[in-house]
Symmetry: C2
Subunit: 223 residues, 2 copies
């Protein structure tokens, strides 16, 4: 297990441990199936065992950690089945968020989307796929952020945290990126035209396709 670095100060120690562990899990620093020994984490982060256990409880509720009573505490493995089920939900919710965002559109929102898609075009031309990937995530986030439903945002964010652990290191092909750009343009057009149902459908299709390509190319090794 790599070193855990304690981030910005939080309200309570339990929260600090929580975000530290969560970040480590989501980033892939703590690998699926890896064991978490509470007192080690405690001493490593300079706290007692209790706040660590509270943090673990939260992460368990979020599905990022699995605890069998009195036994091991493990970073959740993400089986292919889990990934498929979670991604399926995610696509639906992202589609709905796109629908709501379209209903909630405004000038600044559209401007932001245009800017981002231009940057993405540039990064493609520069063959900077890492940058493209970052911008892609940001593009989607920008859309979902514009939907007026805080709970939906949180759910998408939580689902993303769980599913992107598998996708983190997966690079799309250039062909995929070209198609992706075209999809994004179509989505923006639909949003700009206030065609909420269309935008939703396009987003679902776009994400489903990306998902299908990922699943064809990724090897799940557990369960």
């Amino acid at each position: 297990m790599g070193d855990l670095h304690t981030p910005l100060q939080c309200k309570t120690k339990a929260e600090m441990i929580y975000s530290t562990l969560r970040e480590a899990i989501v980033s892939g620093d703590l690998k699926p199936g890896e064991r978490i020994v509470l007192r080690k984490v405690a001493s490593e982060l300079g706290v007692s065992a209790i706040p660590v256990r509270e943090a673990v409880k939260i992460l368990e509720a979020e599905g990022l950690i699995e605890v069998s009573a009195h036994s091991e505490v493990l970073v959740s493995k993400l089986s292919e089945k889990d990934f498929r089920q979670l991604s399926d939900i995610r696509v639906i919710l992202e589609g709905h968020a796109t629908f709501l965002a379209t209903k909630n559109t405004n000038i600044k929102f559209l401007k932001d989307l245009e800017n981002q898609i231009n940057k993405m075009q540039t990064s493609i031309e520069k063959q900077d796929f890492r940058q493209y990937s970052k911008l892609n995530i940001l593009f989607h986030q920008t859309i979902y952020e514009n939907c007026d439903n805080d709970h939906l945002k949180k759910m998408i964010s939580d689902l993303t945290a769980r599913t992107d652990r598998a996708r983190a290191l997966f690079a799309y092909s250039p062909q995929r990126n070209t198609k992706s750009i075209a999809d994004h343009n179509a989505i923006i057009r639909a949003i700009a035209n206030g065609e909420a149902e269309t935008a939703e459908k396009l987003m679902c299709q776009h994400q489903s396709e990306g998902l299908a390509i990922f699943m064809e190319n990724f090897k799940f090794d557990n369960q």
Copy 2:
């Protein structure tokens, strides 16, 4: 606060406290906004403070409890906005679960639905609205249970726990029940015919209508 009764034995005390508190909150025994004093719960249930706090952390992650650091622990209030947002998501997910359940249909499933709708018809004729309400919940659960996505089931169940706190005591009108029966029949037909998109759409419409009627008649008193 009413007496908390400790339910079936659980693997850990934290889990016991968790399900005890959750049941009390969902059932309305612990009211929204009501304060939860940890050590009182601890002594009341005959445990120390730590497992109570762990339970509280889980409930906080689920949105049923709100904690401000070093300050009060409260049963979450459900503002009208929260209710609307959560219900909106719930409708989408229930629709999708109906879609998946239709894709996953089988003889027993259809038989179960038929049986339940017959019982509901009977309870309507007997004017037993309490029974009808129970059967209604069961009917919907039966559908969602038949979708092959465990995470989706859990999400719907969690959303239901949060939103039904407000709906618990709300009785539908007889007119609504008649319409409801008709809706259910249409949904079953679509499921039986394997028309997944239709079943999804009908379920969403059905739930949205019920939601709209509820919102027209219910007074939210907070926020």
